[in-house]
C-alpha cells in the first residue's frame, strides 16, 4: 500500500478571531492527484501555506512525506515544488536565469534548464527577459520553476486559470507526466472540469472545513443524479425538453414511454458535475 505523502490531523489556523482552517484532517497517498476545491475564502490557500511551511499551524498536526511541517519546514521545502496562482517571477531576468537561480537555491549543481523549458514549450525563448512573455508563457514558466528540484509533492494553485486552451492543455499534460513519474499533486482549482479530469480524489472545502472528500465518481454517485435529456416534438410541432432520471426502478418504463409517445429529436445522457455536488452539499456555488 502506498505511503501517505500528506497526512493532516485536526489542523487549525486563525487570523485573529477568524478561523480560516477549522480542525481539518485528510490524507493524500504518494502518486495521487488530489483536487482541492472550494470558493474564495474557504481556507484552501491557508491550508496550502501551512503544508508548504509558509505558515505555522496554530493547532493540530500536518506531516508531509513523514516530516512535521511545523518542526521541519526547511526539509519539507526541499522536497516540494510550489506553483502560485499569481505570477511571481523575476521579470528582469530570462526564463533560464529564473530556473537556474532556483536550482542554486535548492542546491542542485547539475541542472538542465533547457530541457525543463523545452518540456513546458518554452524552448527558443529561454534567453528572453520574462517581462516580454505572455500570460500563458509566464504560467508555463511558473510550472517549470516548481519542477526544478524534481519535487516529490507538487502544490499547484490554479495552474491553468485564465490561460488559452493550448497553454492549459500543455500544463495539464505536465501534471499527468509528473504523476506518472511518481509525484503527488495537490491541485487547488476552481475549474471543475479540470479537477474532474485530472484528480484521483477531490476534497471540497467550505468555511474552513472539509465537507466532502472522495473520488469524483463516488461523489457523483453519492450526491448527484444521472439523467437522460431529450428534446421532443409535440404533434403541434412544438419542441419541448424531457428529463428521465436514471438508476430508478421506474426508469425503464419512463424511457419506453418517452419513445413510444413522442417524436424524439435529440437525446443525451447527463451526469451531475462537481459544481452541482458542491452546491448540493454547501448550498452555494464554488465561485461565490
Amino acid at each position: 500500500m502506498a505511503q501517505d505523502a500528506i497526512a493532516v490531523e485536526e489542523l487549525v489556523y486563525t487570523y485573529g478571531d477568524l478561523v480560516a482552517v477549522d480542525h481539518i484532517g485528510f490524507k493524500v497517498a504518494e502518486g495521487e492527484i488530489l483536487g482541492f476545491l472550494g470558493p474564495n475564502g474557504a481556507g484552501k490557500t491557508t491550508t496550502v501555506k501551512m503544508l508548504t511551511g509558509q505558515l505555522k499551524p496554530k493547532g493540530g498536526k500536518a506531516h508531509v512525506l513523514g516530516m512535521d511541517v511545523a518542526r521541519d519546514a526547511g526539509k519539507v521545502r526541499g522536497e516540494i515544488g510550489v506553483c502560485f496562482e499569481q505570477t511571481n517571477l523575476y521579470e528582469q531576468m530570462s526564463a533560464l536565469e529564473n530556473l537556474e537561480l532556483f536550482a542554486r537555491l535548492f542546491g542542485i549543481s547539475s541542472f538542465d534548464g533547457q530541457a525543463l523549458l523545452k518540456r513546458v514549450g518554452l524552448a527558443g525563448r529561454e534567453k528572453d527577459k520574462v517581462e516580454g512573455y505572455s500570460k500563458g508563457m509566464k504560467q508555463r514558466l511558473m510550472v517549470a520553476r516548481s519542477l526544478v528540484n524534481r519535487p516529490r509533492i507538487l502544490f499547484l494553485d490554479e495552474p491553468t486559470a485564465g490561460l488559452d486552451p493550448a497553454s492549459a492543455e500543455a500544463i495539464r499534460a505536465v501534471i499527468l507526466e509528473e504523476r506518472q513519474r511518481g509525484a503527488t499533486v495537490f491541485l487547488t482549482t476552481h475549474d471543475m472540469m479540470e479537477a474532474d479530469k485530472l484528480s484521483d480524489r477531490v476534497a471540497f472545502m467550505d468555511k474552513g472545513k472539509i465537507v466532502a472528500l472522495d473520488t469524483p465518481h463516488n461523489l457523483k454517485q453519492q450526491y448527484g443524479k444521472r439523467a437522460l435529456k431529450a428534446k421532443v416534438q409535440t404533434p403541434s410541432g412544438e419542441l419541448q425538453d424531457r428529463e428521465v432520471v436514471l438508476d430508478q426502478p421506474e426508469t425503464p418504463d419512463l424511457i419506453q414511454k418517452l419513445f413510444a409517445g413522442e417524436k424524439v429529436v435529440t437525446i443525451h445522457s447527463e451526469e451531475a458535475t462537481l459544481e452541482d455536488i458542491f452546491i448540493k452539499i454547501t448550498g452555494r456555488g464554488l465561485k461565490e
Binding site: T52, Q54, G74, R77, V82, N88, E97, G107
Partner: protein
C-alpha cells in the same frame, strides 16, 4: 544558514540592481561626477582678506595695515568704494573721515563707516568689524569710539587649519554615495514584496534568516563599495585608512538598517521614494555642516550620519587618530546595530 543559497541570492540582487537602468545609471554617474567635482574644485585655500579703504586725509596706507593675509585697496572716492563692495572686488569697504585724528584729539567721537555687500554673511561682517577696530587702534593708539557688535562663530577654531574646498567636500560626497543606497536597497526589497517573488523564495530551502543575510550583504557591499572607492580615488585613505574604512563600513551597516526599515514601512514604490528622499535629506545634513561651518550646531549630533561625516572629516582632513574619534565610532556602532535590529524586526513582520 545556507551559504550557497545566500550566495545565489546576493548574485541575483546584484544582477537585478544593475539591470535597473535608473540605479545602474545613478550609481555609476554619481561616483564619476563626485570624483570629477572633487578634482575640479580648488585644491588650495586663498586666505587673503581684501578690504577697500577710503581715507581722504591719509596720504599713504600705513605699512602696519598691509599685514600678511590682508590686502587693502585704496578707493579714490566714496562712490568708488561703494562700487567696489557691490562688485565684490573686496569683502568690505571702510570710509575713514579726513578729520579722524583731529576729532580724536579733541575728544569727539568720529564716525567710521563700514560697507558690506547685502549677501555678506553676518559672521563675516562681525569678523571684519573686529579686524578694523584692531587696525585703527594700532594706528591711533586708542580705542575707536565706534561700537561693533562681536559674534563668536560656532565650530572648531580653524585658524591656520583651513582646508581646500574639495577636501571639505570629501565627507559630504562619501556620505551622499553611501546614503543613496538606502533607497536602492529598500527598492530591491519592496520589489520582491510587491511582485511576490519573496513568496517563491520562501518555499525553497532558503529561510528568512538567509534572506536577511543576503539583503544585508547586498546593501553593505553596494554602500561601502562606493564610499570606499570614492575615498580611495580622491586620496581620502592616505591617512589612517583603517579608521576611515571602519567608519564607512559602519555607515554602510547603518544605511542597510535604514533600508530595511523603509522597506518595512513602504506600501509601494512611491512610498519607498518618499521615505527614501526623507532619509536622504536628513542623513545628508551633517555633511553640510562640514561644508559650511556654523550652519548647523549641536542638534546635528542626533543624526547618525554626523558621526560618519565628523570621523571622515577629522581623520582625512585634520589627521585625527583613534584617541580622537573612538567615541564617534562607538556611537556609530550603537546607531548601526540599533537601526539594523529595528529594521530586521519590522521587515520580518512584513515578510510574514
Amino acid at each position: 544558514m545556507n551559504p550557497r543559497g545566500i550566495r545565489a541570492l546576493v548574485a541575483k540582487d546584484f544582477t537585478l540592481f544593475f539591470r535597473n537602468r535608473f540605479f545602474a545609471l545613478v550609481t555609476s554617474l554619481a561616483l564619476v561626477v563626485y570624483v570629477i567635482l572633487y578634482f575640479v574644485m580648488p585644491g588650495s585655500v586663498d586666505e587673503t582678506l581684501e578690504i577697500g579703504l577710503y581715507a581722504p586725509g591719509w596720504s599713504a596706507i600705513p605699512a602696519d595695515m598691509q599685514k600678511e593675509g590682508l590686502e587693502i585697496h585704496v578707493a579714490e572716492s566714496l562712490e568708488d568704494l561703494e562700487d567696489g563692495v557691490t562688485a565684490h572686488d573686496y569683502m568690505a569697504g571702510i570710509a575713514i573721515p579726513g578729520d579722524l585724528m583731529e576729532k580724536l584729539a579733541s575728544g569727539q567721537r568720529p564716525q567710521v563707516d563700514l560697507y558690506f555687500a547685502s549677501d555678506t554673511p553676518e559672521e563675516a561682517q562681525a569678523a571684519v568689524s573686529s579686524l578694523i577696530r584692531e587696525l585703527i587702534y594700532a594706528q591711533t593708539g586708542q580705542p575707536l569710539a565706534v561700537d561693533f557688535s562681536t559674534q563668536v562663530l560656532p565650530g572648531p577654531d580653524m585658524v591656520g587649519k583651513q582646508i581646500p574646498p574639495r577636501d571639505r567636500m570629501r565627507p559630504l560626497f562619501a556620505v551622499l554615495l553611501i546614503v543613496f543606497e538606502t533607497y536602492g536597497l529598500a527598492t530591491l526589497i519592496t520589489e520582491e514584496i510587491e511582485h511576490r517573488t519573496i513568496q517563491a523564495l520562501l518555499v525553497t530551502p532558503v529561510s528568512v534568516k538567509d534572506l536577511f543575510a543576503a539583503k544585508g550583504i547586498t546593501g553593505i557591499t553596494l554602500a561601502f563599495g562606493q564610499g570606499a572607492l570614492f575615498m580611495a580615488v580622491v586620496g581620502g585613505l592616505n591617512d589612517q585608512p583603517v579608521i576611515i574604512i571602519l567608519a564607512l563600513l559602519l555607515a554602510a551597516l547603518l544605511v542597510t538598517g535604514i533600508g530595511f526599515l523603509i522597506a518595512s514601512l513602504a506600501k509601494d514604490m512611491m512610498s519607498v521614494l518618499a521615505w527614501g528622499v526623507l532619509a536622504l535629506v536628513i542623513l545628508v545634513i551633517p555633511g553640510m555642516g562640514v561644508m559650511f561651518p556654523g550652519v548647523i550646531t549641536g542638534w546635528a549630533k542626533a543624526i547618525p550620519s554626523y558621526y560618519v561625516v565628523d570621523t571622515v572629516d577629522r581623520v582625512a582632513n585634520y589627521g585625527s587618530g583613534w584617541p580622537d574619534i573612538w567615541q564617534n565610532l562607538l556611537i556609530l556602532v550603537a546607531f548601526s546595530v540599533a537601526f539594523l535590529l529595528v529594521g530586521m524586526v519590522a521587515l520580518r513582520r512584513r515578510f510574514q
